[in-house]
């Protein structure tokens, strides 16, 4: 976690507050998603957006939400959800130790790596 308190990776309280607000807006249909809402979702997805993109995506997401609203016509209270269409138990293999990919092969594609230590290099995360 950074010294400023501005998110290690995920700020639970802020996320809950902002998304709950968004939800009420949608349900009451007082207003559609705003560019600020879209920027907020972008930050949850760790995706920076330009001004043009934010405008385009606000428009597109609102179009999609209008489509999704149709699903509310259906009474699904007693319908169980389907997460996988073909109901089979997950196939498990024998729990036997076997070789994995060699470390060199795995780090070979990293944009910045330390071949000697055998790891990926990232910007400083702790104690900024």
């Amino acid at each position: 976690m950074s010294a400023s308190g501005q998110a290690g990776c995920y700020n639970e309280a802020a996320v809950q507050k902002s998304t709950a607000t968004l939800f009420c807006r949608r349900l009451s249909r007082l207003m559609a998603l705003t560019p600020d809402d879209v920027r907020n979702v972008g930050s949850l997805a760790r995706l920076a957006l330009t001004e043009d993109e934010t405008e385009r995506l606000t428009h597109q997401l609102n179009d999609l939400l209008d489509q999704f609203a149709r699903l509310q016509e259906l009474d699904t209270d007693d319908v169980p959800p389907t997460s996988h269409a073909v109901p089979v138990a997950a196939m498990l293999r024998e729990d036997i130790v076997r070789p994995s990919l060699p470390r060199e092969a795995v780090i070979a594609m990293g944009p910045q790596v330390d071949e000697e230590l055998g790891g990926f290099i990232v910007p400083q995360v702790l104690g900024e």
Binding site: L47, P80, A108
Partner: protein, 487 residues
């Protein structure tokens, strides 16, 4: 005499086995065809001539030594560029994966290599398989060999165009909401989306894990059956693959549909389906009836909700799957970052294209706290209703016949500014993915502009043999599959 690149995979395999022609000569013929037409069709992101020739020589050596070789030995294939290939760049047509060379092969690639099938290269797609035209590719747009001003369909448009253009006799695509069947329809080919779990997804770069399946493109039902047999089967590296023996699908090529019960769902012939497509498919159903099938109408009342449910489920899964592209372990990394959050956000901003960003945001929103029940859970419940629709229909029918897409191939640029119109292109194919059932598209005619029309056959889980049987019977009664695009 027909040129090698016009022949079917079955004919090529027979010639190779009889030593009328070597695997090397066949491979060279297709590489020459790629050289000749690729600049106008643009099917491939990467062509691998050296690797292909080396593989072909190895097959020829095995045949010369008298070794037993599989039914497709020496036949070339093109691979959608979301299938991992050792030593060959795998991009998903995304700038974020530019330069990524996988350290392992997809299971289907391993199976084909072991079967002596020659890989010619990697084909274009909509970025991360998200789209219906290849216009969302982060590289370039592929053209339809039947009319170069039209799209080949998508997302597996490069794989479809490669076969339709005679650049490869076979190819593999992936189908999450129609990405094999719709381009097969637009390019006049046979395309199969197998039952979920029939083909291992190991090494297929994930888009929506509960919907994705790999499947074949071919000129004929026989060729598609050969390729499906070669790639199917359980895999301990994909826990969702189903432990069920693989039949030899070519055994289903009997030509007999007597007594087969075919349902025609009225919802798939409603408003929005072009009159020419409707007429072609209905006439094909008439031919199946003439061959002895029993045809009757059926209703799948929840069909209309499939598109909305899909556009919650698929982006939700995609937003999670695509979280791995963060500029740390592979692919592109931004040069503008000042800290680690910045690194993720800017890498993804620079690397992803507009459609992918839209789906990541849609999925993130649908899964976020407070919305989960209203969107994702609701969509999963609707998915159950869609599944029950099919279950009820399959109590009375062996298979269902519908159009594959509402129209024939549309113009390049025609729908690229209208995402909703683009998505309607998948309205007939999405339900099969939501229900996990197998579906096949085949050519059932041409419209007045000379563009192929696709017909879709859907059956219950693991009924691929029934689909292949019916499709083969129809194919034997018609000659659409013998036509080739003129380039």
């Amino acid at each position: 005499m027909a040129e090698l690149h016009d022949l079917t995979a079955a004919d090529l395999a027979a010639k190779i086995k009889a030593r009328d022609v070597s695997a090397r000569e066949v491979t060279d013929a297709f590489l020459a065809r790629i050289e000749a037409v690729e600049s106008s069709v643009k099917s491939f992101i990467t062509v691998t001539p050296e690797e292909a020739r080396a593989q072909a020589d190895a097959v020829d050596a095995r045949i010369a030594a008298g070794d037993a070789v599989g039914p497709l030995a020496g036949v070339p294939v093109a691979l959608k560029d979301n299938l991992c290939t050792v030593g060959v760049e795998t991009t998903c047509a995304s700038q974020i994966l530019r330069g990524f060379v996988p350290p392992y092969n997809a299971t289907v690639v391993e199976k084909l290599t072991a079967a002596g099938v020659i890989s010619l290269g990697k084909t274009n797609l909509d970025e991360f398989a998200m789209g219906s035209s290849t216009e969302n590719s982060g590289m370039f747009t592929t053209r339809n060999p039947w009319n170069l001003d039209k799209v080949p369909g998508g997302s597996s448009g490069g794989s479809a165009a490669a076969v339709a253009a005679g650049e490869a006799p076979l190819s593999l695509g992936s189908d999450t909401g129609g990405s094999i069947r719709q381009p097969a329809a637009f390019c006049g080919l046979v395309g199969i989306k197998p039952t979920y779990g029939r083909v291992s997804r190991y090494g297929l770069v994930a888009f929506a894990s509960s919907l994705d399946q790999i499947g074949p493109f071919a000129h004929t039902v026989e060729d598609a059956a050969l390729l499906l047999t070669a790639i199917s089967g359980p895999d301990e590296r994909d826990s969702t693959s189903v432990p069920r023996p693989v039949p030899d699908y070519t055994k289903a090529l009997t030509g007999d549909v007597k007594g087969l019960r075919i349902g025609v769902p009225s919802e798939y012939f409603a408003e929005g389906i072009s009159p020419e497509v409707r007429a072609s498919v209905l006439s094909a159903i008439g031919i199946l009836r003439g061959l002895g099938a029993q045809v009757d109408e059926v209703s799948l009342p929840y069909t209309d909700y499939a598109l909305a449910a899909y556009y919650i489920v698929a982006p939700a899964e995609a937003s999670s799957n695509l979280a791995r592209y963060d500029g740390v372990r592979y692919g592109r990394r931004t040069e503008r970052s000042s800290n680690h959050i910045d690194l993720f956000e800017k890498t993804r901003e620079e690397g992803f294209g507009p459609e992918v960003k839209q789906r990541i945001l849609t999925g993130t929103y649908a899964l976020s706290h407070g919305y989960y029940d209203a969107f994702y859970l609701k969509a999963q419940k609707v998915r159950t209703l869609l599944r029950r629709d099919f279950e009820a229909a399959f109590e009375k029918f062996d298979l269902l016949v519908t159009p594959t897409a509402p129209t024939t191939a549309f113009g390049i640029g025609e729908k690229s500014d209208d995402p909703l119109a683009m998505k309607l292109s998948d309205i007939c194919t999405i339900p099969a993915n939501m229900a996990g059932i197998p579906a096949l598209s085949q050519c059932c005619g041409f419209d007045t502009h000379g563009l192929p029309v696709g017909m879709q056959l859907m059956g219950p889980a693991f009924s691929e043999e029934v689909l292949i049987r019916a499709a083969y019977a129809y194919e034997q009664a018609t000659d659409w599959h013998q036509r080739r695009a003129k380039l």
